[in-house]
């Protein structure tokens, strides 16, 4: 057979961008209900804790007042939760209920392109959500600019990191209710034991290594270092952990989820 068909295949960046763009358009369609909560949530948290709890917590934590300590942790938990929701419930609905992926995969993108676009989008949400918390913390004078402005970048890689984990979980899930185990079983404990609400040095020494394994611990350290402008050499280890996590878990997630997209 002669082949005089010259396909016009968009380059890789364009294919990833198309997936990302699709999510941005759908998300920004409901600006009010989608963009307001990320600002309200930290506000609520700080109000509740600031007005109530801080009165009783007089000691400092790693040289920070309690509200500073908690605030800098919240920058990362918001990234974690938004990215995790996006790539569990969001991905599952697009995959199984709305069949959005089926349509997208008829366009010139591969399943890998789609999954990586998905991860980049979750990272972008992580960026935006930590930026929202940053705004609130700045308004209340809890952290200071300009050095804190870099913290949404950590929000981005945190979003990417939790997206890879969430997608890996999603690749196993058969019914949407199973995600409850992931949220209560892993993410909620992480919220409490990754140095967000209290320093992990307060944990029993036998549990402390567990906290070191949790991915959120490392994000929180990086974010706190940036906000306080206090850096140490060990942060390189935290950064390395995150990068390694993204590549290893990301690789597994792409491989497993691809089989659900192309069977």
């Amino acid at each position: 057979m002669t082949n005089n068909n010259t396909p016009n295949i968009p380059p890789l960046w364009r294919r990833l961008y198309s997936v990302w763009y699709r999510h941005v358009r759908v998300y920004t369609r409901n600006m009010f209900s989608n963009a307001l909560p990320p600002f309200l949530e930290p506000l609520l948290f700080l109000a509740g804790v600031g007005l109530g709890l801080t009165k009783y917590i007089t000691s400092t934590m790693q040289g920070l007042t309690y509200i500073e300590f908690l605030g800098t942790g919240l920058l990362m938990t918001s990234s974690m939760f938004t990215s995790s929701f996006e790539c569990t419930f969001g991905t599952f609905i697009r995959l199984e209920f709305d069949k959005v992926y089926d349509g997208m995969l008829a366009a010139p993108i591969t399943a890998n392109n789609l999954i990586i676009g998905e991860i980049l989008w979750a990272g972008s949400k992580g960026f935006f959500f930590s930026f929202a918390v940053l705004c609130i913390l700045t308004v209340f004078g809890i952290i200071s600019l300009p050095h804190s402005l870099f913290v949404p970048l950590i929000g981005f890689i945190t979003g990417v990191m939790f997206a890879t984990l969430a997608l890996l979980v999603t690749s196993f899930v058969k019914t949407i209710n199973h995600f409850n185990f992931y949220f209560t079983g892993l993410l909620s404990p992480m919220f409490f034991f990754s140095g967000v609400v209290f320093p992990i040095s307060n944990l029993h020494e036998k549990i402390r290594p567990v906290a070191e394994v949790l991915p959120l611990t490392h994000s929180v350290r990086l974010a706190r270092a940036i906000c306080t402008n206090r850096y140490s050499a060990s942060l390189a280890g935290d950064f390395l952990y995150i990068i390694l996590f993204i590549f290893v878990v990301g690789f597994l997630a792409v491989r497993r989820l691809r089989r659900r997209l192309v069977n």
Binding site: M1, T2, N3, N4, N5, P7, N8, I9, P10, R14, R15, Y17, S18, Y21, R22, R25, V26, R29, N30, D98, K99, V100, D102, G103, M104, L105, A106, A107, P108, I109, T110, V262, N263
Partner: protein, 310 residues
Amino acid sequence: MPENVITVKILNKSFGKLCAVCDLSFEVEANTCFGFLGPNGAGKTTVMKMLYGKCLRDRKDDTVVNVLGYDPVENELAIKSMSGVVQQEDNLDDELNVIQNLLIYANFYGLVKTAAKKQIEYLLDFLELSAKAKSRIRELSGGMKRRLVIARALMNNPKLLILDEPTTGLDPQVRHLIWDKLHQLKKRGTTILLTTHYMEEAFQICDEVLIMHKGRKIMSDTPQELLKQNVEQYVLEVTGSYSANLFESPELSQNVRIEKAEEMTRLYSDDTERLRAFANKLHGAQYYLRQANLEDVFLRATGRGLDDKQ
């Protein structure tokens, strides 16, 4: 020699022990409409998916799949960039309006904004959706959604258009409109591949039809030839349950094939007079004498009973 847009030889797909597509071979010439007919679960959709890389075929040495000059396993992107796919579900983005839905797909094909807007305007006009350009997906009827999915699949002016049951569940007006559009597309050089279980649809728009059952090809030809080769010209349908000896009449002794179901007996013959003569003797019975159609061929080929996948 006419050019083939699709060449498939000995294509197989199994899910566990189940053979969803078995040793299927077919060819689709350029500028024709090729239809896959078959009951639910026959494997039609799986074939479509394997052509554009959404589904992976079984690895076998003698299998050949060539779509627009490419093998979907090696170069799905080339195939996808030159084809359009209309899937069974209307998988539109409910959050967005009609134009925004199309813009997202224009992006997938790498169209720049001005070209995209022009193409969208043209497609909405072509599928008679211009008045709904700003409507939300929720406000669209089933027929409009379907047309929008077709418009989306035409975003890249595809050389090959794959449609999986494009008119299932639609009213006759929309169905005829879609057929009309498919005719127009074919005239302009688009090759069309579709699955359906509407015989009339296959008869109206397909140049060639392949009847599939339980993953296998049963027969394949032009609709007219399928009719001529596989079924008598006329059918007399007699409603009600009658004892078998009613049909032991002398008129029916020759050149008549009788098919009996619980509440309906069908008498097939090329001799319309013979059937008419018999019908005239059926006092008070409900009967209907008609020309045989593709549905008769289909039911004869695939059987009247249901299997566990239907």
